[in-house]
Symmetry: C2
Subunit: 228 residues, 2 copies
């Protein structure tokens, strides 16, 4: 048990800051909070609350439902202080896990149907998450969200998700349309059209340098706060 706080620690602290939770609820309700921005194993949450509580950043109270015990955690002043300090440090850059891209890359090895199925999955996932976002939106509009008093902040996050998901959905849609218009997955006669497509993609023109340097963003630590 190290004393080092990771982003996962702060995610748990942030969620508990909303109001007290039992560990089980905390693990379940992550969906509503940070499942989509900081997905971690369930067992990691159970481990984390213990750690944070032993460090005095959370306070655990044992409760009983019949014979079965459960622990309800609340954030302490020290915990809030830790969050405050964290806010002054640099953020780690965003990253994705997007397996479908790797499949697209090697798509010509497989069949047209296979890559279409993959893209339909992506589109389906985006739509499902959009439906979920729609529920969150409704909760706020109807004034029944748990963090109703924080709409002014939450709105910014909801905006992000809906934009992201709409973008993914739209991309999957137009990519499906493109691929469905093909006879097969061979390159025959498709590259000309593709170059036109690429030419049209909007990259802010300023400084398309030739230095093939990987973006510096990648040099800041990605997960924990390990220092060099």
């Amino acid at each position: 048990m190290t004393e080092r706080l990771t982003t996962t620690s702060y995610a748990v602290l942030a969620q508990v800051a909303v109001h007290p939770w039992s560990t089980y609820e905390l693990a379940q309700q992550r969906v509503r909070y940070f499942r989509y921005v900081w997905p971690r194993a369930e067992s990691a949450i159970y481990r984390e609350v213990k750690r944070l509580s032993s460090m005095g950043l959370l306070e655990g109270k044992k409760e009983h439902v019949g014979k079965r015990a459960r622990t309800v955690y609340s954030i302490t002043d020290k915990g809030r202080e830790a969050l405050r300090k964290w806010l002054a440090t640099p953020v780690s850059p965003f990253a994705m896990d997007f397996e479908a891209m790797i499949r697209l890359f090697v798509a010509p090895l497989g069949t047209k149907d296979q890559i279409i199925a993959t893209l339909q999955q992506v589109r389906g996932d985006a739509r499902e998450m959009l439906r979920f976002s729609g529920q969150i939106k409704q909760e706020f509009l109807e004034g029944r969200a748990v963090t109703q008093d924080q709409v002014y902040i939450r709105a910014l996050a909801v905006d992000f998700f809906i934009s992201l998901l709409n973008m993914v959905e739209a991309w999957a849609e137009r990519t499906l349309a493109e691929i469905e218009s093909w006879d097969d997955l061979s390159p025959d006669g498709k590259n000309e059209r593709a170059l036109e497509k690429i030419r049209g993609l909007p990259v802010t023109p300023e400084s398309v340098e030739t230095t093939p340097v990987p973006p510096r963003a990648q040099l800041r630590p990605r997960r924990g706060e390990r220092r060099a």
Copy 2:
């Protein structure tokens, strides 16, 4: 050393399928290929090529530069076959690590300057990656990309990235504008406006059910191919 192939295995196979690479190049050039869709530790790549090679999916040839040995890997037919089989299985859903969202969530604990700095980082990261995407775009337009013969597929991926990055950049931009227009980070009088903002967010209307079920997308395995 298990025999199980993970998405990381397929990412390496996919990259080697382009042309033979030395392990070092492979690890370095991941930026160009799957760094942004499947970011993994460098040491994982070194481990993976050995594993794949012991399984006969890659073939390693020792070369010498003076006294120093290096291994150049090429994909085997068996390796291509593995990729082909993989394409028939279901994709794992996309996921993000986006620490800035957690910070936004607890932003009122900190200062306005802090959350502004965080959002500027996000915008900066997006811009940097956009610049990198711009270089890729240029490579294709000038016909000097390594996978020039695959533009018709690559264009679809480049489209995705540029859309994603522009979306992130635009979101960061408008969120910064919003926050900069505030006097402070207190909720005072901001929630009305926020509700209007939320109301305007485009969620496809079909079926905004009230069942607060977490999207099924999350139930498919995220990383490896573990079966239930």
